[in-house]
């Protein structure tokens, strides 16, 4: 009897494995747009430190919503999860390994650049400070990524190589300039994107089938919450995901 089960399990594994091996691939793309009134005028950050440097390139806008002229929302995370959230996503052979070993977050002009950064477990996050003043980098992502708080002198950099994939976002801040804030999400698969200035994103070579797409930006989940919404990725085709970010309050 026991052996029968083992056999069945083996068969199932084989079948699943086979289905993954023969998985077909498609594309998820779309645009995240602003659900409020346009044009959107962001709040100005009150800069009370290092004004000479921080304001050298003009005023700093608050980044809770980064809305372009045409209404695209920048710096929105979009990623896939398995619809049942049980197994790992099948990964396209060309994406087995991340292309870059390191991803960089810089701090020019008292802003984190980029403001939203997604990376894959195993990649090293390089915290750079190309500015002439000192910054610190204080990152924390709840339970999985406890984080640390380190000073980066002008022109210096630190390397963070212990980030692990987590459902919790890693927040990055600078205590010297408390308005500076950035977000990092870490995945154990390559199917994630951050929207560009026009609010557009594209996830290529995604496995065909039913998956969930999850969208998050500074102010929280966009449509669908933490589980996201289910989409069907067509084999060899493209599925469009277009969502609106509704202003909170």
């Amino acid at each position: 009897m026991k052996s029968l089960w083992t056999l069945a399990a083996a068969a199932l594994t084989l079948a699943l494995g086979a289905s993954h091996a023969s998985a077909q691939w498609g594309t998820v793309k779309g645009r995240i747009t602003w659900g409020g009134a346009l044009p959107y005028a962001p709040d100005k950050v009150k800069v009370d430190k290092d004004q000479a440097h921080c304001l050298a390139k003009g005023e700093i806008a608050a980044e809770k919503y980064v809305v372009g002229k045409s209404g695209g929302v920048k710096d929105v995370f979009v990623w896939l999860t398995d619809a049942g959230d049980k197994a790992k996503l099948p990964i396209h052979p060309s994406l087995k390994e991340p292309k870059e070993k390191e991803v960089v977050m810089d701090q020019p002009c008292c802003k984190f650049e980029p403001h939203a950064l997604a990376l894959r477990e195993g990649q090293t996050l390089v915290g750079k400070n190309s500015s002439p003043i000192a910054h610190n980098m204080n990152w924390t992502g709840g339970n999985d990524n406890p984080g640390n708080n380190k000073l980066i002198p002008a022109g210096g950099e630190i390397k963070i190589d212990d980030l692990v994939a987590s459902p919790s976002v890693v927040s990055v801040s600078c205590n010297i300039h408390p308005w500076m804030k950035a977000w990092v999400r870490v995945f154990n698969h390559p199917y994630y994107a951050v929207t560009d200035a026009d609010g557009k994103f594209e996830i290529k070579n995604a496995p065909a089938g039913k998956y969930n797409v999850v969208i998050w930006q500074d102010m929280g989940w966009v449509n669908g919450g933490r589980t996201g919404q289910t989409i069907t990725i067509p084999d060899g085709g493209t599925v469009e995901v277009n969502e609106k970010v509704k202003p909170s309050e």
Partner: protein
């Protein structure tokens, strides 16, 4: 009378008497023997044998490795095999001994032969040499030939001998080999046997041991025989167990100090055995078939082994043939089970071993009794009483004065030896007697000691907690002389507790008479959670129970009390209160006498005292004249805010810390500020200060301006109204205080609108006055009516007819209703004892009105007046069998609810009251204090006067039904009442031998004392003080979670391991680990639990080794912490309330992470005081506590100024240092004095020498060169200063008028001139040798290290901290120039190394130096650790270092400030 042989008595009668007596004696003897034989304890002991046997059978079963039987069989087989091999090895020789002997002989013989032959061989060798020499020496010829032949012959002989020798050698070797190989085989076989046996033992060892115990515990024939009647008189198997305590005596009323004999262990035989837990005992009755079979297997296994001649150490036949059951009743389980917490009690290694403390010391009862009822067992609730009656024939013994304490009150005994009470809080804040501590705190908070004396000493000996009121005036108001006098009395040291209510001296400014009346009538009606008890509308004085003629008296009394308070208050504010007037009058009198030199010694003393009293009673300045700030400086009252601006008051109220002590319903809902921005809701649970929700209805009592003025003053400086208040000075500006006051007063309180207390008629007042007048000393009952018509005539009020301070003086002259009210008010206050909690003018010297509680716990119940209280209970309450649900004691039992409008009343207490027992009386006294007057005809003023308290203030929970809430509220109140009772019952005033009184070591004593002060001022309302302790079951998941955080950071400084945040002080090896830390604000998820560690954790369990350093968050599965011991952290509530509030206020700065934490948010709140002792210098902390100043720029609130006495402040300083020294021994903390070695000259020289050596010649030269400009400027400075002095000397010479003065001035001028010349010469020559010398000697190190601090390019420190004149544009950290007086040097070093380790939250300060990086060598040469050490050194010497030439004038080869 003639002699006769006739017996005086009839012989026959005598024979009958003799016969009958013989029979009677015999019967009695047998009866005695029988009675002795059937003593109940014997049955208990006999049963216990069965229980023991059955229990050890279970232990045996538990240890029987049934599921590993394959392994066991294999191991056993391995043993057998090994033995067999050994036997075979041995068997190889039929007669091993003979064989070995023979081999030995053979060896000896061969060796002798060999030696013999060898000697021959050697001598033949020399003969051969001679022969060869001879041959060679001989001339050629025949002789030579023959000689040669001889030599050849010798050679042959030697060769033969050699062969023989070699043969012998071989033989010897063969012989040896034979023996050795036989021995080696045996040895190996023996080792194999040993190994196999070890492996087998590993599997069965525990089982064998359990089996052995089980076999021994069986009731055997010998036992049976020894317990036969009569025979058992000699060596009985039954025995009375007894503990004799000569030092812990009993006081049997008349018989004092009787040694204590505790025989409890005669029946409680399993009390000290850990395996006798209640659960196992309860299960003894079950003998499932499965277990039976298993048992049979186990016995068979043992027997089989015995049959195989395996050494077991016992005879398995002693084991019962089958698994026995022992069905135990619930009371038997209790009887036989082990004491809970053997680590703390009973066990010989515990803190309270039974040999030292006995049983009745804590449990009370009749220790020498060996029978259940006679030992005065007391059931814990009605259900237990019922069970006991059924199973044990239990009944209540009325005659025994100290029956055993029911389990619910057993903690009260702790008070006998733990007089400090807070010593029951362990270091690390675990509460060992939670109910007693709760009771103590309730007594303290509700001010029971205001009326009831709770003195800690009797005749100079400590007998219990000291909860006496502080002297008035308070210690710190006294002159040193007075203080010394008060403190020097060892039998009566001054009390330490302040009155719990506010002072009523300035009541007239605060509110109105009308409000006061309504308040007195029903304090809880106005403020449901107030501590003020109810005096009216109780069971004796509510109008529905009063007789017609008394119905109006309560209202009249309330009016009178309010009238008195306001009359006195107004006089006080005018500086014309009776106390002052009386003292002033007396002063004048005494001064007059002194002028006439007619004062007696007594009067002279009195004069001084009166003067002093008047000095202390400073004349008040009414608020209408001025309002002052925290420092006493007058301020202008800010203008009232408009509707919009007033909203800012709410923000201030929320974030400035008010909610740490107060609550307000308006903050519980979100609102907006004046700019329309959201103000987040904050639900505070604080009840240290009053709930302020309805404050608007109280303050000013209708007069808006006066109310506002009062409130602003109270917020700015509460000491104006009440110097002894525990409300601190908040450091708010007058404008801020105005906004808070305006907001508070704008909050709606219309939901409180009771009718005013009806005004009394003059007749009612007269009725009431008559009650008191009739009893007034010196007033004749006959004159009362007359007085009530016309008042006392003037001459009647003079001495000696009436004392000048008699209350009746108030009725002098024409009688008005006001005079009557004043008189009644004063009489009522004095009867009810309001001054126990409040300062009331006219009651400066009043004595407490309540029964002293010093020894209430042993009060003779016969002296308690139970009256008809039992009937009251029957008529008034619904008597419920149980209060707690037996399955889940945290929930109310099913029957615990109101029925037909009657509140629930636990049957346990109803019974106790019925049996006239102490606890029953006390319970009813607290529940309905005046019910003892029930059905009694009592005069108005003879009625009981204890008010009714409410101890617990439950809040309805979301989603809770009305009935559920009511039941829970009643239960919580009952628990609070029970806690107070636990405390009171523990007050027995029995001096215990000194060795038993808990006498903690100094550090611990500091902690205990400090904890009292922390509680007194609610420090924990804001600050986190102690981390929590969490026992975590080390499941696989938990271990994984711990392992996950165990990674070492190469940037961390391993060198700091001795500190308990870097290296754990203990290694956890068991099933569970204790984690020190704080739970994160939001838990990670429903399945997990997150803790931020404050101490490093090391786990070593063979399979898992992990060390997690402090500052890490460990997230463990929830089931790993369930049902385990948890000690919640002490303090920090307000800091936690602030986090979400601030996050709503400014999400960018204070945003919350996934665990609900925010570093900036934490930094904005009150700082954690965990590790405060190792952080701060003791003398600085002392000064700071007395006069707190602003330090950390990031906070949104400021530490307020409490009116701490020096003693309080000192106790707090010692608390932190003592706690940290004991919990973190690796850091070698010292207090109260602190040594800073970094401030010693030798230290600097040493450091500088090392540094100069490290730099090397070239770099030193470069630095010296760079120093030159600094020296030039320093020298110029010096010269300028000297010239300035010269000028001043010159002018002094010029202005001198007298010769002598001129002479001195001229000498000074000459000296100064010399200095100036010398300096000028140095300037001219460019002579900097002195500077150079001291630079190399003691400055080079500091000069460079200082650059680390102020370097502008790396901005390590300057970015956030102010350093001298270098001010960052937005300060984030405290100024560094004051570090030298605030911080301990070790702390500074550790903090700079890694702030993360030392905080309870993620630090805002980044890690500036990494262990694995070497940086900034241009500033200071050395590795990172040397750099942080150097930073510590300059910070600890800031004032000195900042004056060095290189620092002043910033001579730096590179970088450095300008």
């Amino acid at each position: 009378m003639a002699a006769t042989d006739k017996h005086y008595r009839s012989q026959k009668a005598l024979d009958v008497v003799f016969g009958v007596s013989c029979v009677l004696l015999l019967v009695t003897t047998f009866w005695m023997l029988y009675d002795d034989h059937v003593k109940p304890y014997k049955e208990v002991q006999r049963d216990f044998r069965d229980v023991e046997a059955a229990l050890y059978q279970r232990v045996l079963l538990d240890k029987y490795p049934a599921e590993k039987m394959d392994d066991v069989t294999a191991a056993r087989q391995a043993v057998a095999d090994a033995r067999k091999t050994l036997d075979e090895a041995k068997a190889k020789l039929s007669q091993p001994e003979a064989w070995f002997k023979q081999k030995g002989l053979e060896k000896a013989r061969l060796e002798a032969e060999y030696q013999d032959k060898k000697a021959n061989f050697d001598s033949f060798g020399s003969l051969l040499n001679i022969a060869i020499d001879d041959r060679d020496a001989a001339a050629p010829g025949p002789k030579k030939d023959s000689l040669a032949k001889e030599a050849e012959k010798r050679k042959t002989e030697i060769a033969a001998l050699d062969v023989e020798l070699q043969g012998l050698q071989k033989k010897i070797a063969e012989n040896e080999y034979a023996t050795a190989s036989v021995l080696a085989d045996q040895k190996k076989a023996e080792e194999d046997v040993g190994r196999a046996e070890d492996a087998f033992k590993k599997l069965t060892n525990e089982f064998d041991r359990a089996a052995k115990t089980a076999a021994q515990k069986r009731w055997k024939f010998g036992d049976w025989f020894r317990s036969l009647p009569i025979i058992d008189g000699f060596a009985s198997a039954y025995r009375i167990q007894q503990v004799t305590l000569n030092d812990l005596t009993i006081d049997y009323g008349g018989f004092k100090d009787v040694p204590r004999y505790d025989r409890c262990t005669t029946c409680h035989l399993g009390i000290d055995r850990p395996s006798f837990d209640a659960a196992s005992l309860a299960k003894l009755g079950d003998t499932p078939d499965e277990a039976k079979t298993k048992y049979k297997d186990a016995v068979a296994f043992l027997k089989d082994r015995a049959k195989n001649k395996e050494a077991l150490g016992f005879d398995p036949d002693d084991l019962p043939g089958d698994l026995r059951g022992a069905k135990l009743s619930s009371s038997q389980v209790k009887e036989y089970c082990a004491h809970p917490r053997l680590d703390l009690f009973v066990d010989a290694n515990s803190a309270h071993p039974v040999e030292k403390f006995g049983c009745t010391t804590c449990h009370a009862g009749q220790g020498s009794a060996t029978e259940f009822v006679l030992a005065t067992h007391t059931p814990n609730d009605a259900a237990q009483a019922r069970t006991w009656t059924k199973e044990k024939g239990w009944r209540s013994l009325h005659d025994w004065e100290f029956p055993m304490l029911p389990n619910r009150f057993v903690e009260s005994s702790c008070l006998k030896c733990h007089h400090q009470v807070t010593d029951l809080v362990r270091s690390g804040s675990k509460e060992e007697a939670p109910k007693l501590l709760k009771g103590y705190n309730l007594v303290r908070e509700n001010g029971c000691f205001g009326c009831h004396e709770i003195a800690g000493t009797k005749g100079g000996r400590s007998i219990g907690p000291d909860m006496r009121l502080e002297p008035s005036p308070a210690l710190e108001q006294l002159t040193p002389d007075e203080r010394a006098k008060v403190l020097s009395d060892p039998t009566n040291p001054p009390g330490t507790l302040r009155k719990v209510g506010p002072s009523l001296r300035r009541l007239a400014e605060k509110t109105s008479e009308e409000w006061t009346r309504k308040w007195i009538e029903s304090p809880r009606g106005f403020r449901p959670d107030t501590r003020m008890p109810h005096f009216y509308n109780l069971s004796t004085n509510s109008p529905d129970v009063l007789p017609e003629e008394q119905k109006n008296l309560p209202a009249a009394e309330m009016h009178a009390i309010a009238f008195y308070l306001f009359a006195e208050s107004r006089d006080y504010l005018k500086g014309a209160d009776k106390y002052r007037l009386a003292n002033e009058a007396r002063l004048k009198e005494l001064e007059d006498k002194q002028k006439n030199n007619t004062t007696s010694e007594k009067e002279r003393k009195e004069l001084i005292e009166v003067q002093r009293r008047l000095e202390l009673a400073v004349k008040p300045t009414p608020l209408s004249q001025r309002v002052v700030d925290g420092d006493g400086k007058p301020v202008t009252l800010p203008a009232a805010a408009n509707d919009k601006a007033v909203l800012a008051g709410r923000r201030l109220f929320t974030e400035k810390g008010c909610l740490a002590c107060h609550s307000h319903r308006a903050t519980e809902k979100a609102g907006t500020d004046g700019d329309g921005k959201e103000i987040a809701a904050v639900v505070g649970e604080a009840h240290f200060g009053p709930n302020l929700s309805r404050i608007a209805a109280k303050i000013g009592g209708g007069n808006k301006d006066a109310g506002r003025r009062w409130l602003v003053q109270w917020i700015l400086n509460p000491n104006v109204h009440f110097p002894r208040t525990r409300m601190p000075i908040t450091h708010l500006t007058p404008e801020e205080a105005g906004l808070v006051a305006d907001w508070l007063l704008s909050q709606d309180a219309k939901d409180w609108n009771p009718d005013d207390v009806p005004a009394p008629t003059v007749d009612t007042l007269k009725d009431l006055a008559r009650v008191y007048l009739k009893k007034a000393p010196g007033v004749s009952p006959l004159e009362v009516d007359g007085v009530l018509e016309k008042g006392f005539a003037d001459e009647r009020t003079r001495a000696p007819l009436m004392a000048p301070d008699a209350d009746e003086q108030a009725l002098k002259g024409d009688l008005t209703p006001e005079k009557l009210k004043y008189y009644i008010g004063k009489k009522s206050i004095s009867r009810l004892g309001c001054f126990g909690c409040h300062e009331i003018p006219g009651f400066e010297f009043a004595k407490p009105v309540g029964t002293p509680l010093n020894d209430w716990g042993k009060k003779d119940p016969a002296r308690l007046a139970f009256e008809d209280a039992a009937a009251f209970v029957k008529d008034t309450y619904h008597v419920a069998e149980l209060r707690d649900d037996p399955k889940d004691p945290t929930k109310p039992a099913k029957e615990w609810e109101a029925k037909e409008g009657k509140r629930p009343y636990e049957k346990f207490f109803a019974d106790s009251l019925g049996h006239h027992q102490r606890d029953g009386f006390l319970h009813q006294k607290l529940m309905e204090p005046r019910s003892y007057d029930y059905h009694r005809e009592v005069k108005w003023d003879d009625r009981l006067r204890m008010p009714q308290f409410r101890f617990v203030h439950a809040k309805a929970r979301a989603g809770e039904s009305e009935e559920d809430f009511k039941a829970r509220e009643e239960k919580e109140e009952a628990e609070g009442r029970e806690a107070v009772m636990t405390f009171v019952l523990g007050l027995v005033a029995e001096p215990v031998a000194a060795k038993y009184v808990n006498n903690p070591a100094p550090d611990r004593a500091a902690e205990i004392k400090g904890r009292q002060v922390l509680d007194k001022f609610n420090c924990a309302g804001c600050h986190q003080v102690r981390a929590g302790l969490y026992d975590v079951k080390l499941t696989a998941d938990a271990l994984e979670a711990i392992q996950k955080r165990s990674k070492k950071d190469p940037a961390d400084f391993d060198i700091l391991r001795a500190h308990n945040s870097w290296g754990a002080t203990t290694t956890q090896t068991g099933e569970k680990a204790t984690l020190h830390g704080f739970p994160t604000a939001k838990q990670a998820g429903e399945e997990t639990y997150s803790l931020a560690l404050t101490e490093a954790l090391r786990v070593d369990r063979g399979d898992t080794q992990a060390e997690v350093r402090a500052g890490n968050i460990v997230t463990v599965p929830r089931e790993a912490v369930e049902n385990l011991d948890v000690t919640r952290p002490y303090g920090g509530t307000f800091a936690e309330l602030l986090l979400p509030y601030l996050a709503r206020k400014n999400a960018t700065i204070y945003n919350l992470d996934a665990l609900g934490e925010s570093d900036q948010g934490r930094a904005a709140g009150p700082p954690p005081l965990v590790r405060e002792g190792e952080r701060v210098q003791p003398d600085w902390l002392f000064r700071f506590l007395k006069e707190p100043h602003k330090i950390r720029p990031l906070t949104v609130l400021r530490m307020p100024r409490f009116n701490l006495s020096d003693e309080d402040a000192q106790a707090l300083v010692n608390y932190f240092a003592g706690a940290d020294r004991s919990s973190n021994p690796g850091i070698g903390l010292t207090y109260p004095y602190l040594n800073v070695p970094q401030r010693e000259e030798a230290y600097w020289r040493e450091r500088t020498k090392q540094y100069v050596d490290r730099l090397g010649k070239d770099k030193v030269e470069a630095r010296l060169k760079a120093m030159r400009p600094a020296w030039e400027r320093t020298l110029k400075d010096q010269l300028a200063e000297a010239e300035r002095q010269l000028e001043s000397a010159k002018s002094r010479v010029a202005s001198a008028k007298e010769d002598a003065v001129r002479q001195t001035a001229m000498t000074l001028e000459a000296e100064t001139k010399k200095t100036v010349d010398a300096l000028k010469a140095r300037v001219d020559k460019g002579d900097y040798e002195a500077y150079r010398h001291s630079y190399l000697e003691s400055e080079a190190y500091a000069t460079d290290a200082f650059r680390l601090l102020t370097d502008a390019s790396s901005q390590k420190c300057l970015k956030c901290h102010r350093v001298g004149n270098n001010i960052p544009d937005q300060e984030q950290g405290p100024p560094l120039e004051s570090v030298f007086e605030r911080r301990r040097p070790d702390w500074v070093q550790r903090w700079v190394a890694l702030p993360q380790r030392l905080l309870t939250y993620r630090s805002v300060m980044p890690q500036n130096f990494s262990n694995d990086k070497t940086e900034l060598q241009n500033l200071f040469e050395g590795d990172s650790f040397e750099q942080i050490s150097a930073l510590r050194d300059v910070l600890m010497n800031y004032p000195k270092v900042s004056e060095l030439p290189g620092v002043r004038y910033g001579a730096a080869p590179a970088g450095g400030n300008k």
